[in-house]
Symmetry: C2
Subunit: 420 residues, 2 copies
Amino acid sequence: MNYISVEDARAYILKHFAPLEPERVPMLEALDRVLAEDVISELNVPPFNNSAMDGYAVRAADIVHAAPDRPAALRVIGDVAAGYVATRAVEPGTAMRIMTGAPLPSGADTVVRFEETSEGVETRGTGKDRDTVEILKAVQRGDNVRAAGEDIHAGEVVLPRGTLVRPPEIGVMASVGKKEVAVHRRPRVAILATGDELVDIDEPITPGKIRNSNEYGNAAAVVRAGGIPIRLGIARDNIADLTSKIRAGLDAGADLFLTSAGVSVGDYDMVKDVLNAEGAMHFWQVNMKPGKPLAFGVLRGKKDVPLLGLPGNPVSAMMSFEIFARPAILTMLGKTRFERPTVQAVLEESVTNTANRRNFIRVRVEKRDGGYVARTTGEQGSGILTSVSRANGLLVIPEDVTLVRAGDRVDIQMLDWPEW
Amino acid sequence: MNYISVEDARAYILKHFAPLEPERVPMLEALDRVLAEDVISELNVPPFNNSAMDGYAVRAADIVHAAPDRPAALRVIGDVAAGYVATRAVEPGTAMRIMTGAPLPSGADTVVRFEETSEGVETRGTGKDRDTVEILKAVQRGDNVRAAGEDIHAGEVVLPRGTLVRPPEIGVMASVGKKEVAVHRRPRVAILATGDELVDIDEPITPGKIRNSNEYGNAAAVVRAGGIPIRLGIARDNIADLTSKIRAGLDAGADLFLTSAGVSVGDYDMVKDVLNAEGAMHFWQVNMKPGKPLAFGVLRGKKDVPLLGLPGNPVSAMMSFEIFARPAILTMLGKTRFERPTVQAVLEESVTNTANRRNFIRVRVEKRDGGYVARTTGEQGSGILTSVSRANGLLVIPEDVTLVRAGDRVDIQMLDWPEW
């Protein structure tokens, strides 16, 4: 039997995907999506010189010799709060009381914190009504002043196209008044489970039947990757039902089609026949475990739509989704890095790999004594769904490695943070 | 000035939060939430003994001596596909063709893969019409059979209360027919920005004013943590506006109230006065940088609602959200682990900490030569929002450490995966 490697299958599949066209959305809806335009600031941020502290706005030249035993006395000519502009200038020998964020009055070049003035060392009174303040320390010109544009310059690209929008990027866009922004559209992913053995989760189970779990697992995985699932339910193993449900998915505007089951070498050819009739398909044996059977091709609809035919075993379907569907969805979202983060962990049990295939062992990583340790989630059969639900990481054993020993330090691809 | 430590402030705050009451949701909507009930399977999964391979269902006793040069010939009495139940039993000397997932016919106890039968080694024909099959290998009794209940036993708790629901857990719930499930309700988080200096993102900027970025950054951070933001806009620095907007947030059913600005020692007392009038408040100086000023208390509404008063500086607000608001939201969701995952990285530049406060340095971690390296995101002033937007991790320098040297191996708390 001819195998295709994981890399070759993935590279071939990903050639069929590119970032989807941009759409303009209210800025908050851009969260966790990728910018399809540069965000440029039209203004300086902050827009004006302002005080970084609560204190007195002064002219540095007036306080060059100030010290606790030789304070510089300045006449207080007013008070400026955040959001307001001083109506007069700080002339030599004067000072203005100033709050954090307030614009620096003209004439002033420096702010002295309350703690370094007579106001700060006195025990009573707010200082608001005083006529004179004594400065107790010579500070550098410009101290405690945030210069206009020190965060962002007018005309600067603050967030380049391709940036993932997280909460801080939302804050940056707000600070430059970016109300709407172009991001790549979310992909619509049609999900079709196939098989006469399937019953839906709210139907009674009859002899020989099993629950349709792949549709739900795939829908959740699509949401987690950032796509929009289009759930098409179950197609029975007959040409009419398979054909009509595939066309329904195309009509619903799918950007990617996911089927499950019906693509193994030994399967009845119904699913294969219908997929071949609706598009141009490859039916592969991928050199991985679980997840050997995989179909990929392009359906002909109003537009060409790539189809990934996942295996029917739930564990195999999840692993194939992880390795092939997730990067396809991320690509359509404009993301460019698909690798899961890795942690180094000490393996707590020996694991064998006798299949000569790349083995994706589901493991549970935990923090212990400041480091990470990993154990398998038990029986790794492709029918054991709980082998995935107990896992937070994958130990990937290469095709030509037959044994990884207890005590070895291994890289684990984390599906979730080890803390969860 | 009296400081409160990060730990003491956090412990005091978190005493006021507990998982919110459960709600029953359609199972797919439980994604990324925490189970408030045990999920118990009423059925075995798989519900019946079934074939793990495409092959022949046989009686192991019939093939104990089978070998390529001494095949065991068995009469083929039928064919069973997934979803169907064989209508007759496998008697001694007979075999039934079987597909992956199909129920094992009565009488049979073992499945032999096609590859180990005459069907597998012949080059033509599907085998469907043959009367006899030759078994070329003696396999163990039970081989290639998935036993009923091998994944999940009837009556078993498959997902205990407290489990975070990820795509595999969705798959498990589907496989046991769990259509709706109880999860902890998402917290509603009221967000109020305060200050006369703020203008909203779609308003013209006038002298002395800055954009309201905290409302948007906080709303995005609430969404990311799993909460539902209730955006109340900007309250001006007057008693009437502050009071009415706080009451509006309480009327909207807030479980947590977030304000920004107005809680520093030097600030005008408007915000403090109103918060004290509406509840019982603490105004703290937390021994951290950025994020020193922080208010916490409980507002009196139809129910008591905890309020976190974040600093006004956007960077300080984000760090205070990270350290105090995020764990509060996670607690209400039923989550119990708040730590960010850490990676070990080599620091590429020296960083000083002269403030005697715990310093949360924003860093960018990258993978290089198989390891992680970290650099600061540049100027760390609390007005520099881009110091956060360029960061994917935090280097936390303890209060009593004044210098971390270039080349040191440091733990970085990851805000996002280093791959992004």
